[in-house]
């Protein structure tokens, strides 16, 4: 390439097809002045922490944080000159059962308003893991499905049809083997595409066709919006309240819904214009 001597961190690698994620700069634990927030969700044991470490350059075993002390691990990375804050949520099978881990993950998705959420799923247990994907799509459609462990799946004779999966879900699905660093670039591309898209995505919705329920949901959602402007998905909150979700009931009763909306993702850098609401 160039004959001039280059500094050790030249971007010459950026032109090399073999170098995965060449545009990625890992920022470790320093997510300061970030432009965009990425939430990382997924079932336990899907390699979520491996993805987290691959993106941030952190090496510690992130593990499954118990809710009380450290509720979510955070790290940062830079991609195409934008700074991202990556929030690692506790691994959960669901967002609807009642456990502290699930409350933390769910509260962040509903109220933290991440610009994009990566849901890590295990290619060898795709059927089970899609439950969480569908639940998250009810909350936000700014989602990328990261199908991890494709190498292991291949050994079991499983191949994943990503185009079909993506079409069915209405959001991008990318294949990864995070342990080997494969698929990181695809994930970054998809995250960037979704995070920067001004349009909302047509994510798959679980529909109910019950007119009485629909009326109750609309009515309640309207009141929630009046009461707490800025709730990203009032319909989802309404549905959970009707279902008798104790954590949300408490949040409403104690007036915490408003606090939760007040950007728990932390302040963003001021040079970036507000994201249009999805």
């Amino acid at each position: 390439m160039s004959t001039t001597p280059s500094p050790p961190t030249t971007n010459a690698c950026g032109t090399c097809a073999l170098n995965n994620a060449a545009n990625l700069r890992r920022l470790g634990v320093d997510p300061s002045g970030h432009d965009l927030v990425v939430a990382l969700a997924g079932n336990p044991n899907t390699g979520k922490s491996t993805v987290f470490n691959a993106l941030t350059g952190l090496r510690q075993h992130v593990g499954n944080w118990a809710g009380k002390t450290v509720d979510r691990a955070e790290g940062g990375f830079e991609y195409h000159e934008r700074r991202y804050k990556l929030v690692d949520l506790p691994g959960t099978y669901s967002l609807l059962s009642t456990s502290e881990d699930e409350d933390i993950a769910r509260d962040f998705l509903v109220f933290g308003r991440p610009d994009v959420t990566a849901v890590v799923v295990d290619a060898t247990r795709l059927e089970r893991d899609l439950n969480l994907v569908l639940q998250i799509l009810q909350i936000t459609t700014r989602v990328v499905v990261a199908v991890n462990l494709v190498d292991e799946a291949r050994r079991h004779g499983i191949t994943v049809d990503f185009r079909h999966l993506s079409r069915e879900l209405g959001v991008p699905a990318v294949g990864m083997a995070a342990r080997r660093g494969t698929g990181i670039e695809d994930l970054l591309d998809a995250l960037e595409r979704v995070a920067l898209s001004p349009d909302s995505f047509d994510g798959r919705r679980v529909v109910h066709r019950n007119r009485r329920l629909e009326r109750a949901v609309s009515h309640l959602a309207e009141r929630i919006t009046q009461h707490v402007p800025g709730v990203t998905n009032p319909r989802w909150v309404a549905l959970r309240l009707l279902e008798g979700d104790p954590a949300l009931e408490r949040a409403v009763a104690e007036g915490r819904l408003r606090d939760l909306v007040a950007d728990p993702a932390g302040p963003r850098s001021e040079t970036v214009p507000e994201e249009p609401d999805a």
Binding site: S94, S97, E127, R128
Partner: protein, 78 residues
């Protein structure tokens, strides 16, 4: 043949027909992939026979007998 999950022997398969569980536990079982219509196989039991591991949607789940006994299944023949 209708029975409950705890009555399957290791290696036997069945289809879930109903969950006789309410509230958060029902939700939990469903989140782990056990719903009416789900195929399930008894994999192996611990030495004392409780709990038992079941194969559901490609992953192993371990259930205590008192939970398994509330999951109604249709045992597959043969």
């Amino acid at each position: 043949m209708n029975t409950t999950l705890d009555r399957l022997s290791p290696g036997e398969t069945a289809t879930v027909t109903a969950l006789d569980v309410e509230g958060p536990q029902r939700r939990r079982l469903m989140d782990l992939g056990i719903l009416p219509g789900t195929r399930i196989r008894a994999d192996r039991s611990s030495p004392l026979g409780d709990p038992t591991a079941y194969l559901v949607r490609g992953s192993l789940l371990v259930l205590r007998r008192n939970h398994a006994g509330r999951i109604h299944v249709d045992r597959h023949q043969g």
